[in-house]
């Protein structure tokens, strides 16, 4: 019975695992400085990796959930999930910039690179004394948008795949299916948001940060972890059919 459920849903399983891997990868793009960034002591957004990735990704999940309710079109659902997350994270970053520039009075600057790879601006001169950069230079902002988008796609992919499993099991989009699928998507999202944040030690500036190169470790870990989460999730959802 369990094996049947897994074999019947093997393609959705693969999509869930891809989604988990995408989330894990996306966290490496999000420029978070952790606690030091809240004191303008490190470049990036002044909050924890998990929290910001979850905030963006789950906002994307709300958009994707709404879209999936009215339309069954995978690319569109993924795109709306990505856009929801990207809007959330870019609004957060633009307001963060306002606070850093006008509230704290410091120039956005990265301490990890001498020149901004996107704009070519000199960075090291603009880092104030005793800090490791502050604020969100353009490269961090763009990296964050990419991260938000990937996280949104990952979350929506998991939601879409689990939803397909649920619809196949019960042949309808009942509130049971939606509730179960949504909380599973949230749970798997958190697993894949925490694993990379342990990998990067809580802070990263974006794709130009040397730490970014560590992503294969987190992605492999998330790949393995998501396979197990996906297996049990698919079985649990397909059991809905027997109720």
């Amino acid at each position: 019975m369990i094996v049947d459920a897994i074999i019947a849903n093997i393609e959705w399983l693969a999509l869930i695992v891809i989604g988990g891997v995408l989330i894990s990868w996306s966290v490496h793009f999000v420029p978070v400085g952790g606690a030091p960034a809240a004191m303008a002591q490190a470049t990036g957004i002044g909050t924890g990796t998990v929290q910001l990735a979850a905030g963006a990704g789950l906002t994307g999940l709300i958009s994707a959930g709404y879209m999936m309710n009215v339309i069954d079109n995978l690319p569109l659902i993924l795109a709306s999930g990505a856009i929801g997350a990207m809007i959330m994270i870019s609004v957060t970053m633009i307001v963060g910039t306002l606070v850093y520039v006008y509230g704290v009075g410091c120039v956005p600057a990265s301490a990890k690179v001498k020149f901004d790879p996107l704009t070519g601006d000199r960075q090291d001169l603009y880092v104030s004394q005793g800090t490791e950069g502050h604020g969100l230079p353009t490269v961090c902002f763009v990296s964050g948008v990419i991260g938000g988008g990937l996280g949104g796609i990952g979350g929506s992919l998991i939601y879409y795949a689990l939803m397909k499993v649920g619809i196949a099991a019960t042949s309808a989009m009942t509130s049971d299916v939606v509730g179960l699928v949504a909380i599973f998507a949230v749970g798997i999202f958190f697993v894949n948001a925490v694993i990379p944040s342990y990998n990067i030690g809580g802070t990263i500036e974006g794709f130009h940060d040397p730490k970014w190169k560590k992503w294969p470790k987190a992605v492999v870990s998330s790949f393995v972890a998501t396979i197990f989460c996906a297996l049990v999730a698919v079985v649990a959802i397909s059991q809905l059919g027997g109720l």
């Binding site: 606690a35 960034a37 809240a38 004191m39 303008a40 002591q41 002044g46 909050t47 924890g48 998990v50 929290q51 905030g55 906002t59 999940l61 709300i62 958009s63 959930g65 709404y66 999936m68 309710n69 009215v70 339309i71 079109n73 569109l76 795109a79 709306s80 856009i83 929801g84 990207m86 809007i87 959330m88 870019s90 609004v91 957060t92 633009i94 307001v95 606070v99 520039v101 006008y102 509230g103 704290v104 009075g105 410091c106 120039v107 956005p108 090291d124 001169l125 603009y126 880092v127 104030s128 004394q129 005793g130 800090t131 502050h134 353009t138 902002f141 509130s175 939606v178 509730g179 949230v186």
Partner: protein, 303 residues
């Protein structure tokens, strides 16, 4: 649904979100929560005992998600079992959530201070008695507004997720936004006002937070008074924009009418505008503030 009604609901959600964002940030300032609190936590160790509420209730996203989920759960029960009107049920749910949040705040301020016994940080009961009701008050406003957003999204706009789950997700989002935006104003500026404006916190000054107020010793009230002028309102704008813009694109370009891809394009345009805006601010700041250090290599070259 009529497009006009959709826009009206959307406007209401945006307003509620703006209030929620502002009160969320002030709640975390008056109690000192999340990342800036690491300095309040560090201060006694650096020989700076203080009279600031040390509200270490995890990060802001989980704590706000908890309040919102509790509030939504209770509101659903009150609506179903007692057939209360939604408005009344949401208020009662938010009230219970605020009370439970109060216990989280009290246990963390007492626990953190007691765990700093060797640094001689006292537990000030008057701080706990006076600040906890304020924290609960802000928590109530935040939770109520999140519940209004979730309720409108669920009932009027027809979102399929159940109410507590929507409230949970918006709670995570408002916490993530609050700790990323408004908290910086508290952490980088208000806690360290004794150091020159216009720079990040020098690592050697870590823990040396301002402990004296305009009169007397500084406490959370003084911090929220300051942050209410900038950090709180901009947090409100951020959360309001997230909720409003995120839903605006699907309300105007309704996917039901086959305009789904247009909504994606509109969203991408918004993101692009924000990237350009950020670049503009960056360039302005670089020009206006200038570099902190001289370029040594260039100096040598010209000399």
């Amino acid at each position: 649904m009529e497009p006009l009604i959709g826009m009206g609901v959307l406007a209401l959600m945006g307003v509620a979100a703006t209030i929620a964002g502002a009160s969320e940030d002030l709640e975390s300032d008056v109690g000192s929560q999340s990342n800036p609190n690491s300095q309040v936590q560090l201060a006694p160790q650096m020989m700076f005992p203080h009279r600031i509420y040390n509200k270490a209730v995890s990060g802001e996203p989980p704590s706000n998600a908890l309040m919102s989920a509790i509030g939504a759960t209770c509101a659903v029960v009150f609506m179903d079992v007692f057939s209360l009107s939604p408005l009344f049920a949401l208020v009662l749910g938010a009230f219970i959530a605020a009370c439970i949040h109060g216990t989280f705040a009290i246990t963390s301020v007492m626990g953190r201070s007691a765990s700093q016994q060797r640094f001689k940080q006292p537990v000030y009961m008057d701080i706990i008695r006076s600040h906890t009701p304020v924290i609960m008050g802000y928590a109530f406003i935040t939770t109520f507004c999140i519940l209004v957003i979730s309720y409108l999204l669920n009932v009027v706009l027809g979102h399929p997720f159940p109410l507590p789950l929507l409230a949970f997700i918006w709670g995570i989002t408002v916490g993530a936004i609050g700790s990323s935006t408004g908290d910086v104003h508290y952490g980088a500026e208000r806690e360290f006002q004794q150091f020159e404006f216009g720079a990040g916190l020098n690592a050697s000054n870590s823990g040396n937070i301002v402990r004296k107020a305009e009169s007397g010793l500084r406490n959370g009230y003084d911090n929220s008074w300051f942050c209410a002028k900038f950090g709180g309102p901009v947090t409100g704008i951020a959360f309001g924009m997230t909720v409003f813009l995120g839903n605006w694109i699907t309300t105007v370009f309704d996917p039901v009418r086959g305009l789904g891809w247009l909504s994606v394009v509109a969203g991408a345009l918004i993101v692009l505008i924000l990237i350009i805006w950020n670049r503009k601010i960056e360039v302005t700041a670089r020009k206006a503030f200038g570099p902190y250090k001289e370029d040594k290599v260039e100096e040598e070259a010209t000399a």
